[in-house]
Subunit: 215 residues, 3 copies
Amino acid sequence: MILPDARLQLVLDLVGVLVFAISGGLVAVKKQLDLFGVLVLALVAGLGGGVLRDLLIGVVPPTGVTDWRLVAAGALGGVLTFLWHPAFGRISRIVKVLDAAGLGAFCVSGALTALALGMPDLTCVIVGTLSAIGGGMLRDVLAREVPEVLTRELYAVPAALGATLVVGAHELDLLGPGVALGCAALVFGVRMIAVVLDLNAPRPLRTQPPGTIEP
Amino acid sequence: MILPDARLQLVLDLVGVLVFAISGGLVAVKKQLDLFGVLVLALVAGLGGGVLRDLLIGVVPPTGVTDWRLVAAGALGGVLTFLWHPAFGRISRIVKVLDAAGLGAFCVSGALTALALGMPDLTCVIVGTLSAIGGGMLRDVLAREVPEVLTRELYAVPAALGATLVVGAHELDLLGPGVALGCAALVFGVRMIAVVLDLNAPRPLRTQPPGTIEP
Amino acid sequence: MILPDARLQLVLDLVGVLVFAISGGLVAVKKQLDLFGVLVLALVAGLGGGVLRDLLIGVVPPTGVTDWRLVAAGALGGVLTFLWHPAFGRISRIVKVLDAAGLGAFCVSGALTALALGMPDLTCVIVGTLSAIGGGMLRDVLAREVPEVLTRELYAVPAALGATLVVGAHELDLLGPGVALGCAALVFGVRMIAVVLDLNAPRPLRTQPPGTIEP
């Protein structure tokens, strides 16, 4: 069993926390919240996925409430967003790019954390996926936005794909830092292609004309 | 202390996961989400209550992320719903029937799980109730629906009743598979009667004419 | 290491649960929910913060599902609210006062709990803060209200301040019952001043005229 060293994992976690924190801060800016609203949403979005991951695999207290570097990365993301943020009109698209980067970093880091604890493969895949989509879900629920994970383009799928590839590479003894980073990059790429091309899965067949849909 | 065997518990869990997953899938269909949105809501609704239960009683990782049969039941519920679903107009009522079945299965299974770990009676009742209402709550929050548990007909009450009966039967050494299944059926029945008769608890007295209620 | 005795902590927890439960009940009254909706929101708001705290620091099952006194305080808050509640128009302001009292009680009690388990200082501050804001967040998300923690006046900040003072006093060996109660009172006072004066943090600079903000 070859696992990438702890430094790679920390780098992935820091990148994931920072980009998700900025995404949370941007949603708060779009909602015209004040400095502390920006910080709250930045910390929730940045640290939420990792906290969920750690609760599921029994790492208590979660690293998101013990490691000052992660907390600092989350707060930094909020402050940076507050001080310097784009025009409101472009925020939604920038959030999608940041989410894509966070998805890549967190699905790999989440799967690695679960693998390091000797969890079964299925658990590693689910935990990696939830770790990647959890922060954005908490952000959107708290901000009363439509959860990104339920919108049309592929979102949870690239994350599940990345976690599955990491676990598969581990089974085949192929999992080194290069492969881990490659998986993160692949997830980012797949998600960006889905956003750009507006790729989405098939929708359920309508069985009634839309005009008669119940509210 | 006589507890029903593990097979009964697995059956209750599988039934609960499947019906809640279908309910989650139907809510996603009603919201016109795509295949993966349907799967996400199906898995959240199907597995959410059990994951909440396991986190509360210290079973980590929760069986909902380790037991492939439960995960498969959740995914199956989503796929079935996607392929074959009723007209939009009837979905809300079908969700209520499915929720009733899930409430019955999960409040019993949740109470049994907590009893098997030797938790105090109060904890078994609360954990059984939360296990039953948790998946639907997560589904509704994520889908931005009014949480079923806050709507007018009795919802949490049958679940709490079922968990209480299971714990009481256990105290009296009467808890066998038949009693457990009877409790689940009773919860289903009480909830269905509440839905059909539109039974609901008294509401707070108005102290102002409704027209002056703050937004 | 001098920590206030367990009785002080229980008193703080009971006060916090009761006032947050009343706040949850009032939000349910405002939404015109029935008796059981009032009870559900009261229990969620009253016990949610403490359950979140205990999950984060590995106290399972959480005291909120094992200690009948806390559960009774939450249910009592719901019943009291149902029987006797103010005119709808004043509810939002009364919720703010109750939240202020709960913030003070819970940020101190949460920090004390984490300190008693020997958690690192940063963790104690975060856990104390989350313990204070968690119940209200769950209440608002479930009731589909704008989360109080994201509104304009200072909310999370007094809670974080109180938890920080408790941890700081503990580091300086100054932490007795008087200091702990003083911190709770200070948090209540700061939050009330923020509400009364409509104090709020700076907001992000607009980079577009408001009329062009995306929806």
